[in-house]
Structures are given as C-alpha cells and as structure tokens.
Subunit: 166 residues, 2 copies
C-alpha cells in the first residue's frame, strides 16, 4: 500500500495540547535572576509518572532523512516523556489519539530550535526523529520496572515531509 | 583588591565529582532503541530534592564575555540543580567546597557542547554563565516554597578565562 503523505506543521502549544506540552520561553511569565541577565520560566512540564520515579537520560539518535517514513507508533502507559534537544535541532513529533487501544488519525509536527516537547503519558507517538542538529537529546521520563512500552505497527505507513520555511 | 585569576579547566566527571555530576554519553553503558538508530543512556542524574518536587524550567541567559568576573557564589540547601544546554553551548561552571558555611577555594570548569551538569544540593556555585551558544538551558530543580537560596558575595572576586583549545 502506498504510504499516507503528511506535511508536518510547526508545533504550537495549542495545536499539541491534546498530546502533551510544548516547553518554550515565548510569551510565558518569567522572573529575572542573576542580576537581570537571565530570565527564568518556571515549572513548564507536567512530569507524570506512575509506579516509579522520573529520571534524566540521554538519547543519541541518528538524524533522519526527509521525507521520513513512519511505520510504527508507541506509547508509555506509565509515564510522560519529555524531550529536550541539546543542539539547535529541528525534529519531527508524530502523534495520534487513541481509538479503542490503537492509534487514530496521525498528526505530524515539526519543532524548531529552542523548544522542548513533553509527550503525555499513554499518548501514541513516533520514535525520536531529529532532522537537523546533533541528534543529542536529554529525556525526562520514568525510571522503574514494569511494562511501560506498547508498540503499534501501522497498517498504512505515513510519509512525512517538512515544508520549506518562508 | 585585584581579582584572583583562574583558568577554567575542561569539566570531567572525575574532576567534578565533589560538586555534582557531568551528564554525557561517552563511555557510559547504553541500550540501542528505535531499531538501532538511537542510543539510550539511562538515569544519569541524581535529582535530590528536599520538601518539594523536581520540575523543569527554562533559563534564557545573556552570553557572558571572557574573561568572566565572578563576584558571588550561591547554593541551594533544598535541591540539586541540573543544567541542560539547548544549543551547542560552551559555559562556565564555578564551584567551591563549603568551609564553615562559606565557600572555600574556588574551581572553574568549562563545559563544551554535548554535556549537561547537575550541581549537587548545597554546593556553592556561580550563576549560569554561557560563553557560546543560544544562552537557552533547561533546568531540572526544586519546585516548592521555603528558603532555597543562600548567596555569598566574594571578598575577592575571581576573573576566569578559558584557554584556547588546541
């Protein structure tokens, strides 16, 4: 079967609200610290962990060529997963609502440099797919035993591209 | 009084062990995920929070010119503070051991791109001082009420420079 073609849209907090959080500095309340030389935007992610604790890990991913073929979604029933790029990265975030235990209609987003993204617990999502940058991400997610990974191969893969800016 | 002059040394886990953790991918055990396209280095930071919870914040700092004049150290009695650069950053980490409630001899480190640094609870340290990069950092630290900041102006400021690489 031909893959479904999708164009990734720029991620925004509003567009992504059903799937998690976009963590960014723009427009948020902040306090000035360090004699006015630093803005602190406090407590931006809902770290949601069941039966375990949150920890910090590093993911070193290969960059993915565009268009990107997504063949599988996964979800984590026991915890949210927050991705913090450690370079000025452009990366894809592929998500879907749940429909009776399987992914529904897929949406594709693209994150530009300066954003972190927290994928809510139990949200269907594609694997980390950086397009530009070092491929290095810090990840805040659940540390603990138990079954925290559910995978769903897509009956019809999705081919995702990113429109040129401007 | 003339400032004390210090040359920042490259940060390493061993050299920094008395003050906290260097979070990096090199040489650590990892698992391959995402069909072999991503290395996961799990649970690298000791998030140490008293009477509160850990949260994710963003710090948008000005870049600091070199040499950097450090006039004050601070510490957080109730929690560790982990700095994750969101660009390929070079930044200074200035620390000191505690001596009877005040900072002892100051050490200066420089972090190159690809490293995060977790400053241990109650460790004397300088404020965030990025030299190269976007100045944007994700910070995992304590969210909660109570007195979690102690500041100590330095009787003799410290002027820190970074040796040229190579």
């Amino acid at each position: 079967m031909d893959p479904l073609r999708l164009s990734a849209e720029p991620i925004t907090a509003a567009a992504f609200a059903a799937y998690g959080e976009v963590i960014e500095t723009g427009g948020q309340q902040h306090v000035l610290i360090n004699e006015g030389k630093c803005k602190r935007f406090t407590d931006l992610a809902t770290v949601d962990v069941v039966d375990g604790r949150a920890g910090l890990s590093l993911f070193q991913s290969d960059l993915r060529p565009l268009p990107y073929l997504c063949t599988l979604l996964e979800r984590h029933p026991l915890g949210s997963q927050c991705f913090v790029p450690m370079s000025e990265a452009t990366w894809l975030i592929i998500v879907a609502p749940d429909e009776d235990g399987a992914p529904g209609a897929i949406s594709a987003f693209v994150a530009r440099p300066g954003l972190a993204v927290n994928i809510a617990r139990n949200t269907w999502h594609g694997v980390l797919a950086p397009v530009i940058g070092s491929g290095l991400f810090a990840v805040i997610d659940r540390i603990g035993n138990g079954a925290n990974l559910e995978e769903h191969p897509l009956a019809r893969p999705v081919l995702i591209d990113v429109p040129k800016a401007g």
